[in-house]
Symmetry: C2
Subunit: 222 residues, 2 copies
């Protein structure tokens, strides 16, 4: 492949990393909005989603341009197709961050709920998964990608724990059920983000090794 093609690929890597870093920031803020009971922060996440959407469209156009101009084959073709799919996954993670922020905005209109401290740690680990899945892509690092896949099980465990804790709160305070359902949704959205990061990592492994690790049994995301 030509030097022009390689330059385009480097440029594409930079662009997809930039999308990822905005998405990570968006996840971090949305969770901070829940924990700090902060409606202003929640609004910022919703407003920032336009930027993610524009970046997604830009990356997709870039991929189509590369396919049309350079007509890559074999591993190069797989890489561009992987970026197309991963780009889509990142945009969906951004949507989940907006969903979390919507919950935060709603919860902020009521007195503060007791948020289980596990939520913060769960969010931090989810963000790390997102970051590592993209690092794995740009470095073709299948070892790191496999760590992301393994970390998904921890997030599933956090989600199950949150379910148990929040269900207990529901039974003791039936009047809080509505708000507690919103809090439960936050945990579930994080679990979905972790699933999407795992999809990314699986696509990285496939692109590099040609091994399909998709289609593991999905955990119950209540």
């Amino acid at each position: 492949m030509s030097i022009h093609f390689l330059r385009e690929i480097e440029n594409l890597k930079k662009k997809i990393l930039a999308v990822s870093s905005v998405v990570e920031e968006s996840i971090a803020r949305s969770i901070a909005a829940v924990i700090k009971h902060d409606a202003t922060l929640a609004r910022q996440v919703a407003e920032g989603d336009d930027e993610i959407n524009e970046m997604e469209v830009d990356v997709e156009e870039e991929c189509l341009k590369i396919l049309a101009l350079y007509q890559p084959v074999a591993v190069d073709l797989r890489f561009v197709v992987a970026v197309l799919k991963i780009n889509n996954d990142l945009e969906r993670m951004g949507d989940h961050a907006v969903n979390i922020a919507d919950r935060a905005a709603y919860l902020a209109t009521f007195p503060k709920l007791d948020v289980p401290p596990e939520l913060d740690e769960m969010a931090r680990r989810t963000q790390t998964m997102v970051k590592h899945s993209l690092d794995a892509l740009v470095e073709s690092d299948t070892e790191l990608a496999r760590q992301v896949c393994a970390a998904d099980q921890e997030i599933d465990q956090y989600n199950r724990k949150m379910h148990v804790l929040i269900q207990d709160q529901m039974r003791s305070n039936p009047d809080d059920i509505d708000r507690l359902l919103h809090l439960l949704s936050v945990s579930r959205q994080l679990e979905r983000i972790a699933d999407l990061a795992t999809n990314v990592a699986e696509d990285v492994i496939y692109t590099v090794e040609g091994t399909i690790v998709r289609h593991r049994v999905a955990a119950l995301d209540n």
Copy 2:
């Protein structure tokens, strides 16, 4: 483009329609399993997921083959890339059907819950959206695709209604909270399937018209 290319595209259309019809069947069965309290039916859905996964891998390989062999550009390139993305969306719908079936299997181990009759209608409309979004793809029918996008709002309304109904049940029967959360999850999974069908329809509009209708404001999926 050559006659070979056109034949490959026709073949690809047949394959993606076949994936869709298996996914639709899987959704129908998973909901029947919930409504009829039928663990056997639920198991069949989980077992059928392997077939969907294999079909997805096959369609993706087919797309990569077409890109590498025929190096399509412009609208042909967009079509193949759209199929790649839609294929991914269909596989995710299949995962949601498995999630619904998992709920059905769990619920079947307890006495039968009162399932709001709206759930059946919601499921039927969601299946129609899936079918229409794929028909829109193979017929390049943007009018039908727009109907799918519009129908998504009805499904969001059904989901909100289910939330209200099930929250009421939770407050009156706190002992049923655990099972009712599973039932609520069924409604939410349907809402996610409808979202994915809407993604498909939006990709169809983009492929045919070059108009981006993605990134509408997502409804709260509790």
